[in-house]
Structures are given as C-alpha cells and as structure tokens.
C-alpha cells in the first residue's frame, strides 16, 4: 500500500481543474474478484484500487460488469473469488449493512428511490444509521428523540440547499421529473456522509444542462467534503473531464487502468469502444 501523498498536477486533459486536492492512501482495493451467476461470468479476476479523495471512473461497454462491480463493493453480491479491502480491513465479501455503516453509500442506475415518501423523508432515511433513539422515545416524539430529529433535519436541510431542491421538499418523489429524482437520490446518498460514494450512471438520460449541474455537484462533493467518488458513466466527455483515474472493463475483465489521458490512448480501449473484429 502506497503511503505517500501525491499532489495533483493540473495536467491538461487529465481530470478536473481543482489543483489543490490531496489524493491520499488507498481507501478501497479490489483484488482478483470474480463473480458468476450460474454459468455466466459477470466479473473475472478484476483488481483495482480507489484512493482517498479521488474521483474514480469505471467505464466499459454494456454488459462489461460495471454495475456488478459496484454491487460487489457494497455487498449486494458476494464474489466467488477475491477480496475487498476497505479502510485496511480485508474481507472476502461485504455485507450491505456493514458497508453502509462503514461509510459506503450508493446511487442506482435505475432509480431506487422510496417512491411513496417525500423528498425530505427520502433524504432523512439516509440518516437512519446515524439516529440512535429507541422506539419508546420515538413513540413519545419528545425530548431526546425530538432533539435528534431536529439535529438531523438541519443536516438534511443543508443537503437540500446544496442540491437546490428546496421547492420539492415535501413532494412525493414518485411524481417528480427524472432529473430531480436523480438529484434526490444523490441527496439521500450524501445524507449518509459517506467516505466512499458510488454513483451508477448519475447522468444517464439527462440533457446537457442537467449533466453540467450534476457534474458540478459531484465535483463540489469531492472537493469540499473530501468524499471519494467512484462512478460509472457512459458519457466519455464527462468521464474524461471530471475523473482522476479510469478503469476500463470489457466482458468482465479489466482491459485498462490509468489517467484519462492514458486510457484514451490505450489501443484495447479504442478497440473495445469502436468495435473491432476479434
């Protein structure tokens, strides 16, 4: 494990413009992970790491195993082989609850909001882990339970302000437009105050303006809260602009890993994307 702290260089084309962020130690590393469903191999022997404070992109054609990789990282799937090391603890697999309580949070490719609840309740639900008062206090809704509720409400209101969704605070999320739902989902993930934020296609189906907004949110989260971000995205322009390092998967295998510049020049990546007869 490398302990040195690299200072980011503002090299052209490599990642976003923030020059003062510190990229630190390895936060999470995936070693030789394989995952199969029955006979279908979704991931074969993939290793890579995510460093503290960076924006790490996972890209690849459809069916490359990107979402499965995120599912392994936050414990929804259990790999057949390989290990995951998060904050120095090595595990064969994560458990969703452990992953969440240790600071991994997540958004989903096909929105997974709590559709019957309001925006506020959705984001408050992201703080469930941090709220400790027992059932009896909650039944009274008074004293410690009330103070706790207010304290977390304040934190949530900050997130609502940050994401500029004050006007839909009390609206049921099921009826919101797609772009806003994506934002609420990001808010819910942020409410957990994660160390590692996994974003599964945060900009899918968005128009240019919405993409710019979302990029701005991601960069701000990364800059100001020093949250490490791992994201899957198909929009190569966005990926090359905002990420520090990129890992490329194809058919469940890793075919490239490096800075956006390196990856862009990699012949196998070009082949994978342009399609070449094997």
């Amino acid at each position: 494990m490398k302990a040195d702290v690299q200072e980011r260089s503002g090299a052209a084309g490599a990642g976003h413009a923030g020059t003062d962020r510190a990229i630190g130690d390895v936060l999470l590393s995936v070693e030789n992970v394989s995952l199969a469903f029955g006979g279908v191999k979704a991931i074969s022997d993939v290793s890579f790491d995510i460093r503290k404070g960076e924006i790490r992109a996972i890209i690849g054609p459809n069916g490359a195993g990107k979402t499965s990789m995120l599912n392994v990282i936050n414990g929804f799937y259990h790999p057949n082989q390989g290990t995951i090391t998060f904050k120095g603890t090595k595990r064969h697999d994560m458990r969703p609850y452990i992953a969440a309580s240790q600071g991994i949070s997540r958004t989903f490719q096909n929105l997974a909001l709590f559709k019957g609840m309001t925006t506020l309740d959705n984001i408050m639900a992201g703080r469930a882990l941090k709220m400790r008062r027992g059932l009896l206090w909650q039944a009274l809704h008074w004293g410690p339970a009330l103070w706790e509720e207010i304290r977390h409400r304040e934190a949530v209101e900050k997130i609502i302000d940050f994401l500029e969704i004050q006007h839909i605070r009390k609206a049921p999320v099921g009826k919101l437009p797609y772009g806003l739902q994506k934002r609420v989902e990001l808010g819910r993930a942020l409410a957990m105050e994660p160390e590692l934020l996994l974003l599964d296609e945060p900009m899918a189906g968005m128009n240019l303006e919405e993409k710019m907004d979302m990029s701005r949110y991601i960069l701000t989260v990364n800059d100001q809260f020093a949250t490490t971000v791992a994201l899957i995205e198909h929009d190569m322009g966005v990926v090359m602009d905002i990420s520090d390092r990129v890992v490329v998967l194809e058919y469940g295998r890793k075919i490239a890993d490096g800075t956006p510049d390196e990856v862009q020049r990699n012949q196998r990546v070009i082949d994978a994307y342009l399609g070449i007869s094997h």
């Binding site: 709590f114 559709k115 882990l129 819910r188 957990m192």
Partner: protein, 375 residues
C-alpha cells in the same frame, strides 16, 4: 377562503414537523376531540339525538373505535411496512385470550419439573397491555419468515398464524379455563378502583385507548423508525444498501402492529363483546381489517379511522336505505350486497386511488385551500 395557510410561517423545525402544521387543522382536531370526549357523553347522558338510546354507543361508536385501533395496527404492518397480513384476526385473539388469562390468573403446571408457574389475577389495565405484549411476541415469531420471503409468500405465512390460533383457542381448553362450551366471559372492568360499566363509560375508555395509541402510532410513523418501515416497503434492496437493517425494521413493524392489534383484540373481547367464542376472531375478521386499511388508505393513520367507519356503516346503510324507499331487502341479500360492494370498491380504489379515502380527503383539502378560485 377560510382554509388558508397563508401568513402562517414556521420558524422552527419542530413547528414544521407537527402532525397538523396548518392552524385550521389543529382547531378542527381540538373541536373533534372536544366533541368526542365531552359532547358525545353529554348527548348520551341526556339522551339527545342521535344518542337517544344506547344503540349508537354500543353498536356503532364502541366497535368503530376498537376496530379503528386494530386497523391502525394493521396499517403499520401492511400500509407502512408493506408486509401483507391475512392473520390479524389471530393477533386480536391472542390479545383477547392472553388478557383473559392474565385477568383470571395464570396457572401452568410443570409437573415434570416438580414445580408450577402461578400468577395471581391481574387488574384489567395490565391484563390488556400484557395481552398486547403477548401478541407482539407471537407477531415477531411469525414475522421471522418475512426476512426470507416476500409479499405473497408472507400472506400464506400469516394465514398459517390465523388457522393455527383458531385451532389453539378452540381446542386447547387451558386458554378458556376449561369452560365446557368454549365460550368465556370477560372479567369486570375495574380501572384504578373505578368500575367501568355503563355504555358511556365503556365508550370513554375505548376513546382514551384509541387516542393514546393513535398518537403513539403517528409519532412512530413520522419518526426514524417510520421512515425505515416505508423505505423497506418502497424499495427494500436500496434500503438495505443504505444501512437499514431489514431484520430490525420488519420485526419492529410486526411487533408494534401486533401489539396494537392485540390490545384492540382485548378491548374487543372485554368491552364490546363481554363474552365471546373463538369464532369472534376468524379469518373473516382478518380480511375485514385488511379491507378497512385498503379502503381507508394504505399508509395513513387517518385512513384507518375512515376505513373502519366505512366498513361498519356499509351494512347498516344497505339495510336501511332500501327500507326507506319501501323496498324490503332480506338479511341474506344485504350480506351478499355487502360482499359485492366491498369487493367492488376495493378493486375500484386500487385502480383509481390506491391511497384510499385518506387521499381523497387530502385532495378535498387541497381544493379547499384554493376555494373559491379554481386554481
């Protein structure tokens, strides 16, 4: 113009989180509670319309309150946590029989250990609450399968509870204190030295229970645990990945729901029925409670009251209205009509307004806010 929130600014999160953030709602609630606690007893005391006889209290208001309470319990499980239950009747029965046993004294001979467990008869209030507690414990046990199975499979698990406990209370004579007919009578209702006897007193007792538990239920569903229940209901996988433990969320829903249903069962037996047989808590009761929740509104405390009121009033309406028009309808036809109307209404509401009467009510309020302008 009367129902406006304009000018009411919330200056604290506490005010914003209140159950009724709008002033007019609060006034309406206070008036309603005043009427329920003071007005109705006064009307009944002086035998004024519509409380000229005991009928209104005994046959409508008391069952309405108790079934509303049970419906709140069912709504927590089905409406808030999304775990279907076809066995609520069994949990009412567990509450009723446990309360009966605690109220008349528990004696468990343990001859093979050379000992016995003997609990002297308890007063009525602790008996009823312990009835709820027993129901909660059994609820947790039958909720455990919900950790592995979902939706419709769970329906069958709760049916198992229903049929198993139907049988237990029919066949295991210990629960009925070996009464030869299987029918048992509730102990006298002494509360803190006060003998609750007249219909007015019984009504007030139910009202106190329902008010307290409705408030507790509302507090729970608007707090952290309520959000966890709803998260599990709406998207259980995402909830789990956010650190909400399905084990804790589901089992607390089962426990709280069964507790409330159990208390309602004890009240039903002690206050409404007085004397009862095992069939008082059959699967018909379970389905009736489920219907109340669907019709009133899944995921709404207010809806539980509306649903209970509707299900209780429907047969009376179907009986009285044709009579008023001079068309006599047989008792049998009325019961068939009740089936048809209830079933059709459920399908209709599921298609048109899955949140039931409660949502229609809030839509009406929304309209009222704008009135007299169209938008």
């Amino acid at each position: 113009m009367l129902y406006r929130e304009a000018g009411q600014f919330k200056t604290s999160y506490t005010a914003d989180m209140a159950i009724f953030p709008i002033r007019q709602d609060r006034i309406a609630l206070i008036l309603l509670l005043l009427f329920a606690f003071v007005g109705i007893p006064l009307l009944a005391h002086f035998q004024l319309w519509p409380l000229g006889s005991d009928y209104m209290l005994r046959a409508i208001l008391i069952p309405f309150l108790i079934l509303s309470l049970a419906a709140i319990g069912v709504n927590i499980l089905v409406g808030y946590c999304g775990q279907i239950s076809l066995g609520s009747g069994a949990f009412m029965a567990i509450g009723a029989y446990s309360a009966y046993k605690f109220g008349t004294g528990v004696h468990i001979p343990l001859e093979f250990l050379g000992t016995e467990i003997r609990i002297a008869p308890l007063p009525v209030l602790p008996s009823i609450l312990l009835g709820g507690l027993m129901s909660a414990i059994v609820g947790i046990l039958f909720g455990i399968p919900s950790l592995r199975i979902k939706g419709l499979y769970l329906a069958v698990a709760t049916l198992a509870a229903q049929f198993f406990f139907d049988w237990v209370f029919l066949r295991v004579k210990w629960f009925t204190n070996y009464a030869p007919s299987g029918s048992i009578a509730a102990p006298d209702l002494h509360f803190f030295g006060y003998f609750v006897h007249s219909p007015i007193e019984r009504y007030l007792l139910c009202l106190v229970f329902v008010t307290v538990f409705a408030l507790i239920a509302k507090n729970l569903v608007r707090g952290n645990i309520g959000r966890q229940w709803m998260a599990i209901r709406d998207m259980d996988i995402a909830a789990e990945l956010m650190g909400i433990r399905p084990l804790y969320a589901k089992l607390t829903a089962f426990a709280v729901s069964s507790f409330i249903v159990g208390v309602a069962g004890a009240l039903w037996a002690f206050i409404y029925l007085g004397a009862w047989e095992p069939l008082a808590f059959s699967i018909d009761r379970s389905l009736q409670l489920l219907f109340m929740v669907i019709i009133g509104g899944l995921g709404s405390i207010l809806g539980s009251f509306l649903g209970a009121a509707f299900i209780l009033i429907l047969p009376i309406l179907l009986d009285q209205v044709p009579h008023a028009f001079g068309v006599p309808v047989s008792v049998e036809t009325v019961s068939h009509l009740v089936f048809i109307v209830t079933g059709a209404l459920i399908c209709y509401l599921l298609i048109v307004e899955p949140h039931g009467f409660a949502r229609l009510w809030s839509i009406a309020k929304e309209k009222l806010r704008l009135w007299p302008f169209p938008y």
